[in-house]
């Protein structure tokens, strides 16, 4: 019984611009906390900065055990002339896990470095994993409840005051506050069912083989092991042991396979629903589209609503598991549900091209 949610700027009425997605997602996840208490995570899509818009801007967010920090830092240092660490989210993980998270700017070197990171991942196993990578996407996630993690991650300002979060003075706010703004984002509160409670098993989960794609999921995919085996044979990498990662790998596989055809995220999601058994709803996000889908029996709740532009926020769509989460961000106009086997697409319109990480896929 996890809780999923998302916020998408309505680009039919608004020009593409960033707004405070972070506080909205925290609010929605907080209202769905009763659905899952193990971990919380958010994935936010930001536009590349103006001075980098034409470059091959690429960022990667990695989690690394303190014993291996030096080697990972060296990897970036050896490959990039500039200072490798753009900023560090040093309060991201609980001290027990001894992991740190870094965000690196690997512009112009993305392909060789991603290859190297995938090699490191298989070498270091659970001591090193990739949280997110791409031009637009940043994922933050950890074990814990929304209230505690929001306090850790960013300055709980007046926008969240009514949730009665404790205000803890911390210098690392500034780093997260930079990435809390975006055009769209997804979030998840997790209650583990068949896999361990670990930070890497928290959602959103990104594909290691396709940039800028992420997924949050509620439910169980009963044939996940079979799908995982098929995808592994095709060369797809997995970080977690969850059934949810199968969704993102499956969709990445279909998008890569059909990238030269007229094939959309909606087609990929439909194909997934046909292939996957079980009871689930999910949100898959790319820089230009967000797909919200349900299994063919619609046994998990899935609702969406619309927020009209006001003084504080532009017009946006909100999607969630619980109807009260829509009310928490005042997105109660035209509330509707995802029907059985339906894929609902929300367009964002950021420039996005399917670009695989490994040439042999």
């Amino acid at each position: 019984m996890c809780g999923i949610c998302g916020i998408i700027l309505d680009t039919t009425k608004e020009e593409i611009k960033e707004f405070d997605i972070g506080s909205l997602l925290v609010r929605m996840a907080y209202s769905q906390q009763v659905r899952g208490q193990d971990s919380f995570g958010m994935g936010i899509y930001n536009k590349p900065k103006e001075n980098k818009i034409n470059e091959d801007n690429y960022k990667v967010n990695v989690a690394v055990h303190s014993d291996f920090e030096f080697e990972v830092s060296n990897l970036f240092r050896n490959n990039i002339n500039e200072s490798p660490i753009t900023y560090r989210l040093d309060s991201l993980f609980s001290t027990n896990s001894m992991l740190s998270c870094y965000e690196f700017d690997i512009s112009n070197k993305s392909e060789p470095i991603m290859q190297e990171l995938l090699r490191l991942k298989s070498e270091y196993d659970e001591n090193f994993w990739i949280m997110s990578h791409g031009k637009y996407l940043t994922i933050v996630k950890d074990i814990g409840i929304v209230k505690n993690l929001a306090n850790k991650w960013f300055d709980v300002d007046e926008k969240l005051n009514d949730l009665e979060f404790e205000k803890i003075p911390k210098s690392s706010y500034l780093t997260w506050n930079k990435i809390r703004y975006g055009t769209h984002g997804i979030a998840h509160v997790r209650i583990a069912t068949n896999t361990e409670v670990e930070a890497r098993n928290a959602h959103p989960i990104c594909s290691l083989n396709l940039a800028d794609i992420s997924v949050v999921h509620n439910g169980e995919i009963t044939n996940a092991d079979n799908l995982r085996r098929e995808l592994k044979l095709k060369g797809y990498d997995f970080t977690t042991t969850t059934d949810s990662e199968v969704i993102v790998a499956f969709i990445a596989n279909r998008l890569i396979k059909n990238k030269d055809k007229t094939y959309s995220l909606k087609d990929a999601c439909r194909e997934f629903i046909e292939s996957a058994s079980g009871f689930y709803t999910g949100i898959v996000s790319t820089p230009n589209e967000v797909a919200f889908f349900s299994d063919i029996l619609k046994t998990r709740p899935a609702v969406y609503g619309y927020h009209d532009k006001d003084e504080e926020f532009p017009a946006f769509y909100a999607i969630a598991t619980d109807i009260s989460a829509l009310d928490s961000v005042n997105a109660t106009k035209n509330i509707d549900t995802i029907n059985s086997g339906e894929v609902k697409i929300f367009n964002v319109g950021l420039d996005y091209k399917i670009k695989k990480i490994q040439s042999d896929l």
Binding site: I191, K298, S324, D327, S328, T332, I335, T337, N339
Partner: protein
């Protein structure tokens, strides 16, 4: 009239928490639960259910995430206590989408006002309550309830009235899907839209939607009762398997619908497409010309 404010109960929890901090060490989960139990008894005269305590102990490692189910349990226990003391008017403030409010509560003609959004399974297995939700309702509102009335001022999520045995529902907005599935009796009036698979396996009762978007497969495999939906929304997928559209509404249908509406017309005015509907629904022509009836085949 008694008023139960969840924020007030949260403040009691917060005070306990701040006392923990003042002592300079983190209290164990068991100690925190024990303190909450004592506070619930001293403040509200109730004790937490053993089943909830076991559920929280098995599922939560710390006290914060256990608070919503504990809150719902305290509220439900407080309401049961008030009903035992012959209280007929109860108000719940700031429900914040809590799950399982009013679950399993019996109270003949007890009026409960919920000032905000009700979470999932509100009023399940309840009996005789007259509930008004001034907000949205989560999944499975009043499922398996025996009798009573649920009025929802906003929209209701899926599964409203699931397997109910004689409860009445009135939704000013829409229901999202699977309304009145396997209903055994009762009536549901939805003002502005009905989701897919509504009336699935319905055995008896009346389901009426006045206007708005109608989902697919309405009345699928129903064996009894009747469903009325706006004729303008009907397409080839609207009517489910094993059911058919009655040719024309009859005088007896009008009588039935009129009686259903008269039950609620005095409750409050309601609106269809921004038109005050309190006059329209009393018009015989409105029913006869706008609604169509779905019934089981033979």
């Amino acid at each position: 009239m008694i008023s139960i404010d969840t924020n007030q109960i949260k403040n009691v929890f917060k005070e306990l928490n701040s006392k923990n901090n003042g002592k300079g060490y983190k209290k164990s989960y068991e100690d925190s639960i024990s303190e909450i139990n004592s506070a619930a008894f001293s403040e509200y005269g109730v004790t937490l259910s053993k089943s909830i305590l076991l559920f929280c102990r098995d599922n939560f490692k710390e006290i914060s995430p256990a608070i919503p189910p504990l809150l719902a349990d305290i509220i439900n226990k407080r309401i049961i206590k008030a009903i035992d003391e012959n209280e007929k008017n109860i108000s719940i403030l700031n429900p914040d989408g809590l799950y399982n409010l009013l679950s399993g509560i019996e109270g003949e003609n007890v009026k409960v006002d919920i000032d905000g959004n009700a979470g999932g399974t509100c009023g399940s297995y309840s009996s005789g309550l007259n509930v008004t939700i001034n907000g949205f309702a989560g999944r499975y509102l009043g499922d398996n309830s025996y009798k009573g009335l649920f009025i929802v001022k906003g929209d209701a999520d899926e599964g409203l009235g699931l397997t109910n045995s004689g409860t009445n529902y009135f939704v000013f907005g829409k229901t999202l899907s699977r309304t009145f599935v396997q209903a055994r009796a009762g009536t549901a009036v939805i003002v502005n839209g009905l989701g897919e698979y509504s009336g699935l396996y319905m055995a008896s009762g009346v389901l009426v939607c006045l206007d708005g978007k109608i989902g697919n497969y309405i009345g699928n495999a129903m064996v009894g009762g009747s469903i009325y939906i706006p004729g303008k929304s009907v397409n080839e997928k609207t009517v489910g398997k094993g059911v058919t559209l009655a040719e024309k509404l009859q005088e007896e249908d009008y009588e039935l619908l009129r009686n259903v509406f008269r039950k609620y017309a005095s409750v409050e005015n309601f609106r269809i497409n921004d038109t005050n509907n309190s006059v329209i629904v009393s018009e015989k022509e409105y029913f006869l010309s706008n609604l169509v009836k779905i019934v089981p085949v033979s």
